[in-house]
Symmetry: C2
Amino acid sequence: MIFRQLFDSVSSTYSYLLAGNRGGEALIIDPVLDKVDRYLQLMRELDLRLVKAVDTHTHADHITGLGALRDRTHCITVMGERSNADVVSMRVREGERIRIPGVELDVLYTPGHTDDSYSFVMADRVFTGDTLLIRGTGRTDFQNGDARAQYESLFGKLLKLPDSTLVYPAHDYKGDTVSTIGEERAFNPRLQVKSIDEYVALMDSLHLPNPKMMDVAVPANIHIGLHQEDIARRGWSLTPQEALDVLGQPSTALVDLREARERDVHGVIPGSLHMPYDELDEHIRDGGLLHELAVATGKRIVFYCAFGERSAMAVEAAQEAGLTSARHIQGGLDAWKKAGGPLVG
Amino acid sequence: MIFRQLFDSVSSTYSYLLAGNRGGEALIIDPVLDKVDRYLQLMRELDLRLVKAVDTHTHADHITGLGALRDRTHCITVMGERSNADVVSMRVREGERIRIPGVELDVLYTPGHTDDSYSFVMADRVFTGDTLLIRGTGRTDFQNGDARAQYESLFGKLLKLPDSTLVYPAHDYKGDTVSTIGEERAFNPRLQVKSIDEYVALMDSLHLPNPKMMDVAVPANIHIGLHQEDIARRGWSLTPQEALDVLGQPSTALVDLREARERDVHGVIPGSLHMPYDELDEHIRDGGLLHELAVATGKRIVFYCAFGERSAMAVEAAQEAGLTSARHIQGGLDAWKKAGGPLVG
């Protein structure tokens, strides 16, 4: 496995680049906007293709690199289902896995620092965001923070991981790079409390100033959605209602870009085909299956995904590949459901 | 193995704590004075006992933690034989190994940034000091720096390590934490030169300002020796001449505190016993071998080592353990040789 811990000294943020091997697909956790050029350069050098950019939560101290990375690499943006961001490509919940070849992250919902804080667990390590820091814990006094919920996330979830689990947080301000669950249980001063009430009182007593970047970062980090309006202006979008009108017509092929587990959890539009987004390039090029289907049948290809992000990127790519009939459902399955569209599965 | 990369954000220095296992002995590379409390706390928490503190070279941008760590833990200070520091406990040369249980560092002499720059190689990683940085190399324009020598250190030594070797430098200013030899060979802009002359011209063209700390740090880092004068004032020292006068007398037991390889390389005072410094505590306590020897025979114990540092610490410890006859040879074997003392082996 390729693993790189990368530091943004302005916000003291740690970001993590993971990949199964050189030449393969990569995933990045908590990227910082100002460092996006460095991430992209490093991935070029390591011959990696970014396919997923994940935030542990809505950050208040730096602007996320998710939007810029999506715009520049067409990667999938991922956050927890409770994220306050307007649009991310994929939302995950506890018990699910974020996968790329050679890397699997188990999702834990660990609210407290914010109500959209998640941790990601691998066999030997955990990415704890701002929930568990090295010899500290994330503040709980803004962004729907909740010391009581954080206590449960810490004692009920993270500290139940094996002692030897490496702890990789989203920040460190004192020069540490890594710790372990066993060390934090024993030596983290915030975790030496005897009850949830003692923890809540401790967190209530901190009276921290707001982060310098907060008024800029939080709004920026909430509005990271791709501009699906641009796609609509080019005439490449169907509203959910327009999509409903053509449902079942032989002139249209609906193509679901989501991953298998998203289909299992959220259901599928009846009669739609399945082609995961990470196979897009392979199938839309001349000689690819989808290209052939469109050309041989004259069918109009209509992509959809969870929130319209992946499908908007897919339409652009398909148009560039010469599939001029390609469209997508604006707002994705989320909008489809709200418009009363039928689902199966 | 326990491995911790620790960052000093003031000087952007990386220090490295290594140990075979919890409860065992530890070694630290390039410690920073301001972070000594943190290192000691972490070692207490991990149940580690510091036995060696190593600098890759005489730093110009921060004050070394070697002296403070020696004073507070009685660890051995280690630098390369070409070090400009006044006194370190042990000097190593290329081809030798720095050992603690579970960790072995092969010493490479890699001059260029300074004339006392060394790198330390393990099976899967190398600590490159300021010789090889991530996508950079250490400046060569002061402290007897030499771009020509650095080219040889880089291309003749470090880049000959296997491609997969992890590179852990003494500094990073851009947020990287680790690289590999293969990556640096391919992507380090300073290493894309076609000849030694091109490298020298490149380094000559940099015109960097001096480090802010330089005028403070270099003198401080050169004068890190333990105050052997304090030991002398307490009457616990023999000058080399005084030691020569008692050589071979049955009333005196000379005890060599150095490691086996130091004895092989530099020779031994005739008739002296051998007790490595790391076994000191065990043997000077009541019931220990040396304690018993001193008490049973009435012999005066005279410690010696390479430069008088370990023996000065040993005298203090022995006096505290009740061995009031304990003495040491001031200046160690180095001073003994200069006084014309005989050696064997």
